[in-house]
Amino acid sequence: MGSFSLHASCLAKHNLPWSNGCSQNLNSLRIPALRGPGFLSRKASKILAFYGLKSPPYALDALEPYMSKRLLETHWGEHHHGYVEGLNKQLEKNDILYSYTLDELVKVTYNNGNPLPEFNNAAQVWNHDFFWESMQPGGGGMPELGLLQQIEKDFGSFTNFKEKFIEASLSLFGSGWVWLVLKRQEKRLEVVKTSNAVNPIAWDDIPLMSLDTWEHAYYQDYKHDRGKYVNAFMNHLVSWHVVTARIIRAEAFVNLGEPKIPVA
């Protein structure tokens, strides 16, 4: 039949053929021929679209006591996971959308403000990946060097920026996200609020960090007190290292200052 064989015990133990338990079977593993006489006559295997659930870059209890393990288990393990599964189910039925990268998928399904049904799942997968990476254990504090300079240039002072960010988080009606964004056209930093799953990459701006203000993001730890949650985020969770790395990358696409061209 097929040209692909696995030792039966490997399947029984759910071991991957390359894991230690089955290393002796690697010799019996024959990669299916992608060309040759056998190929087209094989029953076409169904390739399923898949995005995986990306883990946060820290253990689920690493953000205690500001974001509990219990909350992360639900937020990442149920909500984020649910968006990934939902997206994969939708992509199963859509060959065209399946071919995009996640970034492209978010922009295409946003459809200039008239979102397609896949947008919610795609954008929320993107948003949560970005959000986990925007935080770190031992976060908070202040940005440094060039990033701090840019914040001071665009907001007046770091304190001003912090106040603006907190005010935006508290005045966001309903579910949504608050972003520190580099505006591509205006070449400046801004605090932006979006509803539900909307994401600034949809209009080609560059997000640098985000805060999830959906109630599920804080309810188990802070209940109704969104203000306490936002302050914990700003003072103890936001990773300025990551924001710095992101703005460095962004500067390859957005010229933030006058180039220092030496006079001949």
Binding site: T74, N120, F173, G174, S175, G176, N196, E215, K223, H224
Partner: protein, 234 residues
């Protein structure tokens, strides 16, 4: 509502507390502000469908916050209007819509619920029951429809059973955030609203909104809905 100046001074002092006159206070400037209406049942009375912890937070923190912010926005609006500050008036609209809507919607919501001993969950009889069977096929079909729409609602919002008072027919609608049902049609009157904001169920059901929707029907106060329906469609 008649103005009661003597009462006003007392209610001004306890403006943020509970009021038994239906939740409306009148400040000395003639601006009607609002206070948190009492629940007609204990916080724990709707268990196990909705936990006492959720009811307490929902009522004392969330609903109260909408009222506090609504009152603040109304004061600011009063100021801006008397100064003729048109941009400020316009800017305040979203805060009024959100917080005012939150107050309106939650006031309806508390009446939509009743403990099982108080008739919660008992199916509607009379004209509303008949209208539901007529329009949706059965009460079960209506419940399935509302549960499906409530579960599919992205973000925060409400799912409603309403009656179009012009066309005399029942409708199922959803609204986002705190938009009242009337934003979906000026002649729509809400009969039953189910809050599907995460704060309404998270501590008990976490992300499983469908379970919350399945269970809340056990404490829905159909008597109140029938009375309202009878008024609009005699």
């Amino acid at each position: 509502m008649a103005l009661r100046p003597l009462l006003t001074r007392r209610t001004l002092a306890s403006a943020s507390g509970f009021s038994s006159n239906g939740g409306i206070t009148t400040s000395f400037r003639g601006l009607q502000t609002f206070s948190l209406p009492d629940l007609p049942y204990d916080y724990g009375a709707l268990q196990p469908a909705i936990s006492g912890e959720i009811m307490q937070l929902h009522h004392q923190k969330h609903h109260q916050a909408y009222i506090t912010n609504y009152n603040k926005a109304l004061e600011q609006l009063h100021d801006a209007m008397s100064k003729g500050d048109a941009p400020a008036v316009v800017k305040l609209q979203s805060a009024i819509k959100f917080n005012g809507g939150g107050h309106v919607n939650h006031s309806i919501f508390w009446k939509n619920l009743a403990p099982i001993q108080g008739g919660g969950g008992e199916p509607p009889k009379g004209s509303l029951g008949w209208a539901i069977d007529n329009h949706f096929g059965s009460l079960d079909a209506l419940v399935q429809k509302m549960n499906a729409e409530g579960a599919a609602l992205q973000g925060s919002g409400w799912v409603w059973l309403g009656v179009d008072k012009e066309l005399k027919k029942l409708v199922v609608e959803t609204t986002s955030n705190q938009d009242p049902l009337v934003t979906k049609g000026p002649s729509l009157v809400p009969l039953i609203g189910i809050d599907v904001w995460e704060h309404a169920y998270y501590l008990q059901y976490k992300n499983v909104r469908p379970d919350y929707l399945k269970n809340i029907w056990k404490v829905i106060n159909w008597k109140y809905a029938s009375e309202l329906y009878g008024k609009e469609c005699p």
